[in-house]
């Protein structure tokens, strides 16, 4: 089933980590195999923030194969050496969990395609997000469990999107969890509720065009599809409108960048979305109950119609 939620604070920052946790926790009945956050934090914009994993969570319910933890250290060492080889410098390093790391990197060249291809050439290593504002955090469990595990409660930012997943199309693992990074674009992330029925056809076409897939989750296609459109010069909104005919199936998805956040709903309107919009706040979710966690007072909400695409500038 899955649930998605999004939040924009217009013209100010807020505690988006805590707020999104509340929204996603309200949707936990839609799936708690994994939960993911794409948070756009307040940063100075100098360095790239790279969230990456060197292994999988092999806890209860996981479909991943257990590995010796020492392998994680080996992979991290290779990542560090590759970063150095590419003329980049690790400014700050955090290792929240044995398999999950956050680096702040001074990388003047800024060629994220070359950079991520090099890093991800290491087996078992996946970049979850890269950008100057975006941080993708995703792991197994419900919203509160992931928030607590990664200390997201204090994260301040302008906007965020998130996903509570019930695994249907692929495994219960971090690589199949949402949000997906819009590789190789800085600060682009996607969450999706629905099923895409032309996943393999699109995947073959996009892989032939040099795009990269890390999982077998159909939702990853949206991130790759939009990234390919943007690579060819389309704006985010143009890419999203194109996706209504290019993607087959039922879907409601959110896509966020450093300065914008958008939603698209398929022409069958088969997947839910409730939206609230005011001068200083936009809140949306699969169910109104998610919005109520940040706006308990009586408000006017509505369902976007079939085939609707909306993009807000932050």
């Amino acid at each position: 089933m899955c649930g998605i939620a999004g939040l924009i604070h217009r013209g100010k920052s807020s505690n988006v980590g805590q707020e999104l946790q509340g929204m996603l926790q309200a949707l936990k009945h839609r799936g708690e195999d994994s939960t993911g956050y794409a948070l756009y934090g307040d940063t100075d914009g100098q360095n790239f923030i790279m969230r990456f994993k060197v292994g999988e969570n092999v806890g209860e319910g996981s479909s991943s194969v257990m590995e010796d933890v020492s392998v994680y250290d080996e992979r991290k060492k290779i990542v560090d050496s590759y970063i150095s080889q590419m003329g980049a410098k690790i400014v700050k390093e955090e290792r929240t969990l044995p398999y999950s790391l956050r680096y702040e990197i001074d990388y003047e060249k800024g060629d994220l395609l070359e950079f991520s291809q090099k890093i991800e050439s290491i087996p078992g290593v996946e970049i979850l997000s890269m950008g100057k504002s975006l941080e993708v955090i995703k792991d197994l469990g419900n919203a509160k469990a992931v928030c607590d595990r990664y200390n997201l409660g204090d994260l301040v930012g302008t906007h965020a999107i998130g996903h509570a997943r019930m695994a249907t199309e692929s495994g219960v693992d971090i690589k199949s969890a949402h949000p997906f990074w819009g590789y190789p674009f800085s600060d682009v992330s996607v969450v999706h509720n629905g099923q895409l029925t032309n996943y393999w056809n699109n995947r073959r076409i996009l892989e032939n065009k040099g795009m990269r897939f890390m999982s077998e989750c159909d939702s990853e296609l949206i991130a790759v599809y939009l990234a390919e459109k943007m690579r060819n010069g389309a704006t985010l909104e143009e890419g999203m409108k194109d996706s209504l005919s290019g993607l087959d199936g039922v879907f409601t998805y959110f896509v966020a960048t450093k300065n914008s956040l958008g939603m698209a709903k398929d022409t069958m309107a088969a997947k839910p979305l409730v939206l609230y919009e005011s001068d200083d706040l936009v809140a949306m979710g699969s169910e109104e109950i998610a919005i109520r966690s940040v706006l308990p007072q009586e408000i006017d909400t509505y369902d976007p119609f079939d085939g609707e695409v909306k993009v807000w500038q932050i």
């Binding site: 069958m268 309107a269 109104e288 509505y302 369902d303 119609f305 085939g307």
Partner: protein
């Protein structure tokens, strides 16, 4: 059909949990007969006094607790119940089978006031997907917008949304009236079988797709027609009915109903009985 009359086959089928009735023609439907009313007990109903009013704050309750509390209040004779702080919770006010004034001071989530038979409900907020699903009788008024599948499979009563609704409004509708003050999304009246839908605003694509019967009136633009849906001329009785219905619904007071588009099913289904049970009784 395989011959199930032989004992051996019948026993085998029964052991597999299969039904073994030999069907002979149309399904035999049995309708409620007022002459047998004293033998009829409608489980879960209460005699309530509309002048006996109370408020219920459901902020800290889940939907089961809240519905149980409403049931308890009805059993005590309360006929007017005001629900405070529904906070978008799902499945509130479902399965009420008697007369009641039920007022929600706020918005409901999914499946609000489903499977009801008789109450008058007012929601001073918005409702999520599948509001009043399977409603048998009564009146439901939504002051703001509604989600998709509004009035799915309703069989009777009046369901009114003063704002706009999502997709598939009146899907599988089997009777009653659905009135929308604003716009409606795609697939409005999808697989509709009986009853009427009135939309004062615009409707999305595939209006009345695969409809069997029933009537849809649209005041605004139509995105596109679904298969089996066609336009039909408005008659005086349509106009009179619409005026009367909109007045009762407290909606579209100055709306010119004569300019509405009437949409009906374009195909004839053999052996299809378009009459509602009450209409059928009248006809007989």
């Amino acid at each position: 059909m395989a011959n199930l009359k032989t004992t051996e086959k019948k026993t085998k089928a029964q052991s597999m949990g299969l039904h073994t009735e030999v069907l002979t023609g149309k399904t035999q439907q049995k309708f409620f007969n007022p002459d047998e009313a004293e033998n009829f007990y409608y489980w879960g109903t209460y005699d309530v006094d509309f002048n006996k009013r109370t408020e219920l704050d459901v902020n800290d309750m889940d939907c089961k607790e809240a519905n149980k509390k409403i049931d308890e209040l009805m059993s005590q004779g309360y006929g007017t119940i005001v629900i405070k702080n529904p906070q978008g919770k799902h499945s509130l006010g479902v399965g009420i089978l008697n007369k009641l004034n039920l007022i929600f001071e706020g918005s409901l989530g999914y499946f609000g006031v489903g499977s009801i038979d008789g109450p008058t409900v007012r929601v001073n907020g918005r409702v999520g997907w599948s509001c009043a699903e399977n409603m048998m009788a009564g009146k439901v008024v939504i002051e703001k917008n509604a989600g998709s599948c509004f009035g799915a499979a309703v069989r009777g009563g009046d369901l009114i949304c003063k704002g706009s609704v999502g997709a598939r409004t009146g899907i599988d509708q089997k009777g009653g009236t659905i009135i929308i003050g604003g716009d409606a999304g795609a697939f409005t009246g999808f697989m509709m079988q009986r009853g009427r839908i009135v939309v004062l605003g615009n409707v999305g694509i595939n209006l009345g797709d695969s409809m069997y019967d029933g009537t849809i009136y649209v005041g605004g633009k139509i995105g596109s027609y679904g298969s089996d849906a066609i336009e039909s001329p408005m008659t005086k009785s349509d106009i009179d009915w619409l005026k009367r219905k909109l007045k009762v619904a407290e909606i579209g007071e100055n709306f010119d109903v004569s300019k509405m588009t009437k949409v009906v099913a374009g195909k004839k289904l053999w052996n299809y009985d378009a009459l509602e049970p009450t209409e059928k009784k009248g006809a007989i």
